[in-house]
Every structure is written in C-alpha cells, then in structure tokens.
Amino acid sequence: MKKKRWSFSAVTTALVVGMVAVSLLIGTGVFLMIYQRAMIQSVRTSSSQITEQVSDIVEDYMADIRDLMNQIRRTEQMTPEEREEFLSSIAMVRPDVTAITAYDRESGALLEAWTGQHVLKEQILVNLSFDEERLPEEGELLISKPHVESILVNEYPWVVSISGIVKDPEGREQVIVLDTRFSQIASYIDNVGIGKHGYCFIMDEEGNIVYHPQQQLIFAGLKGENTELLESSSDGSLEEGDMIYTIRSEEENNWRIVAVSYVDELIAEGLRDCLLILGVLLLLVLIATLICSIVLSNQLSKPIKRLISAMRDFEKDAASFSFQPAGGSREMTALSDSFGHMVVRIQELMARVRNEEIILRKTELRALQAQINPHFLYNTLDSIAWMCEDGRNKEAVDMVNALARLFRISISKGHELIPIEKEVEHAKSYLQIQKFRYKNQFEYFFDVEEQCLHYYCNKITLQPIIENAIYHGLNRMIEEGVIRIRIWEEDGDVIFSVSDNGVGMTKEQCDALLKEDSGRETGIGMKNVNDRVRIYFGEKYGMRIESEPDEGTTVYIRMPKLEEEPHESR
C-alpha cells in the first residue's frame, strides 16, 4: 500500500493547532518566568515590610521596657516602703513580667525579688536570670538569651532577662533584672503570615532563636532553622533551596528578624492558574481551527477533491462522462469551468475520430466487396467450359445463371443492406456453383422463417461462412457433408446460423478465424463479416462460433431486425 497522504484540511488543522500550542507554551513559559520573578519580588517586598513591622513592634516593646526601667530608676527618690509597693505592683499587674530581681553590682548577691503572683523558691539552685559575667553598663539595657525562669516554685516559663543599672534609695548601685515573656511580640509574630506557610522569627546575633512561632517543634527536634547560614548572611533577601529568607537587623538589641516564605508554594499556584488558562485556550483554539478547517474544506479542498474524483472518472470512461461543475471560491469555479470545457471538447474530438474511423472502414469494406476473387472466377468458368465441351448444356446454363446471380447480388447497386431473401438467393447461387464443382460431395438445406425474408441484412453475410464450412469443414471429409442454414427471429433480432458436420475446430482456430483478415475466394473473410455487422449495428451484434472437433461447427450471426432499408449516407 502506498504511504498515506495527508489531506489539505488535516495539514491545516495540525499546523494551526501546533503553532498555537507552541506559541502558547512559549508564552506561558515566559509569563511564568516573569510571574515567578514578580512573585519573588513581591514576596521580598512584603517580607521586608513584615520584618520592618516586627522590628517596630520590638522597638516599641523595648521603649516600653526602657520606660519601665526609668520608672524603676526614679524609685531611688522614694521611701523604701513606697519603692516596695511600686515594684510589687508592677510585678503583679504586668502579665509579661514574671519577676523583677535586684542584685548587688559588686557582689552579685540577690538582694530583693518581686514576683507578683508567683512564688520565689526558698533555695535557688541556679539563677538563669542573672549572669555575673555579663553586667550592663550605666544607662544600657542588657538582653539575655531566652531561658527558663528557674527561680519560681513549680513554674518554668521561658523568658528573656533585661537588666539595667539602678540606684537604690541609699545610693548604692544595683542591677535590676526584668524577666519578661514578651508575649506582645510573640502574639504578633504568631499571627504573621507570608503566603500559606510562610512565617517570621527572631534570632539574636549569635544565631540563637529568640522567638519562633514553632518554638516547641524546634525544641522537640521536629524542626530546625538553618541559623548558621542566616547568621553569616547580611541583611536583605536570600534564596536557599525553595525558601526565601528576608533578614533585617533590629538595631537596639542586635536581634535579627527573619521572614521565611516558600518559593514553590507561590509558583505552584501561579503555574496551576497558568495551566488552567493554557488548557482552556488550547481547547478554544482547537475548536476555532476545526471550524476554520471545515469552512476551508468547503471552500477549497472539497471542490478540489470533487474535481479530482471527476478527473478520475473521466480517465476511466471518457466517452460517457458527464461533468457537473463544482462550486467554491472564484479560482475553483474557474478551474472547474475550464475542466468542463475541456471535457466537452475532448468528447467532441473523440466522437469525430470515431465517425471518421467508421467511414474509413466502410469505404475499405466496400472496396473489398467489389473485388472478385479471380481464382474463384476462373475455376467456375473452367467448370462451365468443361460442361459445354461435354455437352451438358443445361447444367452449363444453370451454372452461368448462378454465377450471374451471384455477381448481381454482390453488387446490389452499391447497397450495403439487402433483403434477406436476396441474401438467401446469393447463398443458394454460391452453393449451387460449389456443388457442381465439388461433384455433389455435400448436401445443403435452408430453413428460413417466412417473415424474415423481408428483413434487411448486410450483404454477403452467409457466403463467407459457407465458404469456410466447405473448405475447412467438408473438403477433407470422406463421407457426405451436410450444410444447414437457418434464419429465425429471436427477441426482436434476426439470427443466422450455418452448421456443418465437418471436422470442426479447436477454440484457438475459432478465435483466429475472427481475427484473420484474408478472404480466400471472394475476398471477404469471416472477420470482415463480423466487423461489418458490428460497425453497422454495434458491439452487441456480431458473430459467435460453436465448434467441436470431429462433430462439426455452427456459426451464429446476430443482427437487429430491420423491416425496411434505412437511409444510408453514401
């Protein structure tokens, strides 16, 4: 089978869909890239805003603590009772302050403690709130790392200690430590959201986490932050893996505020939307292309296809082809009209050629009929001469009459068609002459339906067949031959048949007989008879031979029934 070729509209559809798909994909890719960049940029912007806000909150809180420390500082002017009352009330009222402790600056001994509702341990094993190694400077606020409050009975909250130098009423320098849970900062940070899973946390300059919204997950070892990396990075944005870190240093405490957001999460959302749009667009384009291709096929390829199939039909059967012009575009109509004209012209030419051929053949055949086989003639005349010499005058007269009849009918004033009666007479004359010549070696019988005698037929139809029967069928026989000629009417046609009981023929011989062009005696062979019948009456008429070797041969000729001589152009 030949390689399958694509139709025009299929190619168009594939091309358009392909090109649109490719350009959409490229467009989507570019869009996604831009989108990703924009998203990252917007995340950076919002992250930096968030870190700024957290930084503000921290600074507010520190200002608040500074204010508190200043208030405590002013207690040096108070009486010890007033100071006691003031500090107790602060410890009691402020929920974020778990304990206020005072230490001797020189010795580091715990002097006083105000714990509000909480109970101070009698024996303090370890005091994490106060670090003797790290004392604040004058006027400075020192902030510790987050630690557990270790000085309260049955309570161990996580706190940050803020210490400052304050003078007591007697003028001695004390270190005041405020242990604070900074719950305000915590609750703010807990509510920070960046994207779906983004968050914000605070670490100190050494990379210790001060506050993390998932602090306990980190404690339980279920989560970790890459604090080493973050500690070594400067402020700004940092992309690490699929995360974006935005870092901002908080000036007062040297804390660093880190906002964390996830890139893939942001991009995934964009990608999903893009794919959705892409899918819908591709679908729309496909539908549009299908519609276009159907329209195109109607306008262009369908008429072309119709034209192609018309041409194929024309190739197969040029003569009986009739052309319906195809519609479609202007160019197509023009093309189709041209083809139509061409078809008509070709058919005209073909018809003319056929007519000319027929006329030529008829002329040829007429020329042949006019010929008299000299061999036959002198044989016959020889026989007559021999009869006269022999004194068989009666027979010689019959013979001469027969020969005269034969020639008269042969000529028939130049008519091709003659009544069957005449044709029978012609055949009889011929048989008579031959019977004389062959000395009664055979018998012949005519069986002609009465009404057929008035119909017309081609002249010299029977004679060549009889001649063939005599020469090929009977000549070589020892016993007496029989020739039977029948003419009858069948289905509106006239059938002639000539049977002999001679040696018969093989199939090949029969076929050769209808192809050979040479007449033996009268110059007209069997093929000539057949050709004439067909030229005059068409392909469905003509000669048919049935033959069995050693049995005999029957030749049938079918002709239409012609009740009067048609007008014949000469």
Binding site: A10, T13, N154, W158, Q216, L217, A220, L222, L283, K302
Partner: protein, 331 residues
C-alpha cells in the same frame, strides 16, 4: 465517497483531540481544585492512658500542632486511671462507631486491649501506637521510646551516680502494661552485667501518685537498706519522690525517675529525685498525627517503628541550654 470518508476521519480526529484536551483540562482543573480547596479533614481519634499528666498534655500539644498543620479533626481521650483498659476498649469502639478515620492508641494492657484494636484495624482504620504497645499484628506504625534502651539508660544513671554495692528497689506500675515491663527488662538486663548489684526488689503499684507513695514507703519499711530506687512513669515518679521526702531519705537513696513535670523537676532540684529519664512526648504526639495523616492519604510509612529520643537529665545538667529545651515546654 472519498471526500465524505476523509471528512469523517478529520471530524473523528478532531473530536478525539477535543476529548483529550477536555479530559486533560478537567484533570488539571481537578488537580488545581484539589490543591486549593481543602479536603474534608481526616478524623483521628487519639486514645491514651490518661489525660491529665504532663506527659500526655505534651503529647496532646504536639498532636494539636500537627492536626492544625495537616487539617485533621483530632479528638483526645483517655480513662481516668492508667489501669482502666475497659474504658479504653469502650473509647476505641465508640471512635470506630462514630466514624473515625484513624486511631492513635497507647495501651494500658498489652493483651486486654489487643482484640478491640485488631477489630478496629480489620474495619480498615490505620492504627498508630504511641508510647505503649498492644498485642496486635495489624498495627500500621509504632512511635515512641525504645523502652529497653530507656531502662538501660536508667541503669547507667544509677551506676554513674553511686558507688559501692547496690540494693535496688523498682517501683513499677501495672504488670500488664507493655512499656513499664520493657523498661524494667532493659534495666535488669543492664544491671545483670554489674557485680555491684546485690539485689533488685520490684513492687507493682497502681499508676497513681498516692499508691506509689504508699508502696514505696512499704518497700522501704521492708527493705530499709535500699540505696537506689528506680521508677518508670510520671505518676510513680512523683509517688517515690513524695515517699523519699516523707521519710527524709533524699540524701542516702539515689532515685531515678521517669518523665518530667514541674513537681518532679522541683524534686530533681531539691534532691528527692536524682535523675530523670525524659522522653519526647511532644514529638510522639506530633509524629503520630503526621503519620496517621500520611497513611490516610495513601502513603505507606517508611518504617514500622519510629523511635523518639530519651534524655538523661540530672541536677547538674538540667539548666544547660540544650536540656532546658527538653525539660521545659514552651507555651
């Protein structure tokens, strides 16, 4: 004829492509929907041994965080006392009837809880065991301390903090509870290697502070020469601590206790308790819910057992930064 056939092919091809695209688009849309619209939350029932100890509160806290993170509807329940396996069985049955998607379980009784858990598993519910095991082969995942190792760690603590011959009392809880028995086995296995050990006396008490306190006093009355006591859960730890405090023997008896709460931490500081084996209950709770959720969404757990770590906390290291994080919850 040819034209019509061709067009049919084209139309068919177009339709096919259209269907493909529509299908693809639908899948993408579904994917998008699935990703953006939250699924119905999984319903996970967490049924444990008790609800009011610091250990279990920490487990619940971890579980609650994971439940929020993974969109899980979590219920936490347990009997009032830690020997009430019947209540546990009833709670499991109720949870199954009420349509829980998965069960997180900690067994009071290794054998008596087995049947109900197997039944629940046969109903198709993934079972995640935390802390204390149950005798069922249909458990999807076990999360918790490696109890033998924890027992062995307790033995190490006793061995490093004492000198000379050892007469040890073990105050264990319900004999049918798997984790207590495993811890004691780990402890005894380790002690069997030591020549210093002269005797190990075990008593089993109810898992309450009061019963442990009473039991310990009785044990010390019968064996006044004990110089080390080991106990294996939060309540018995408190009971032992109180008994030592009552008898004023905090200096001559080395006590190794289990789990931490504010009281036992205070006792560690004041000396009634000398060492605490601290587990990671927060991680247990978190991991249990996280893994239950993953199993429900069709992901097979990577291992059949997830080990959570245990830490030995002593008076010397309890306020070191790393140990603070283990010992004290951030709330």
């Amino acid at each position: 004829m040819r034209v019509a056939k061709h067009k049919k092919q084209l139309l068919f091809g177009g339709l096919l492509l259209g269907c493909l695209l529509l299908g693809g688009g639908y899948l993408i849309y579904r994917e998008a929907e699935g990703a953006s619209a939250p699924r119905d939350p999984y319903r996970v029932a967490m049924i444990v041994k008790s609800t009011d100890s610091a250990f279990w509160k920490s487990v619940f806290a971890g579980a609650a965080v994971a439940a929020t993170e993974y969109n899980v509807e979590l219920t936490t329940e347990g009997p009032e006392t830690e020997d009430d396996y019947e209540t546990q069985n009833r709670l499991v049955k109720t949870a199954v009837e009420e349509g829980a998607d998965a069960i997180i379980f900690s067994a009071v009784d290794y054998n008596a809880n087995a049947e109900v858990i197997t039944e629940a598993a046969e109903e198709g519910l993934p079972i995640v065991i935390i802390d204390s095991d149950v005798n069922s082969s249909l458990v999807s995942l076990r999360i918790g301390t490696v109890n033998e190792d924890a027992g062995s760690m307790a033995a190490e603590a006793v061995l490093t903090q004492t000198e000379g011959p050892l007469r040890i009392g073990v105050v264990n809880f319900d004999e049918n509870t798997a984790n207590g028995q495993e811890r004691e086995q780990g402890f005894r296995d380790r002690m069997a290697e030591e020549d210093r050990v002269e005797s190990i006396e075990t008593i089993n008490v109810l898992s309450t502070t009061e019963d442990a306190r009473r039991g310990t006093k009785e044990l010390l009355k019968q064996h006044p020469d004990l110089n080390a006591i080991v106990t294996f859960n939060e309540w018995t730890s408190l009971g032992v601590g109180w008994a030592i405090s009552d008898l004023g023997r905090r200096d001559d008896i080395m006590v190794t206790a289990f789990d931490s709460n504010v009281v036992s931490v205070g006792m560690l500081e004041t000396g009634e308790v000398d060492a605490l084996i601290v587990q990671n209950p927060y991680a247990m709770g978190y991991l249990a819910v996280e893994n239950a959720c993953q199993i429900l969404s069709g992901k097979e757990p990577e291992a059949l057992h997830i080990d959570t770590e245990t830490t030995l906390v002593t008076r010397d290291n309890m306020y070191l930064p790393e140990y603070q994080k283990i010992l004290f919850m951030y709330d």
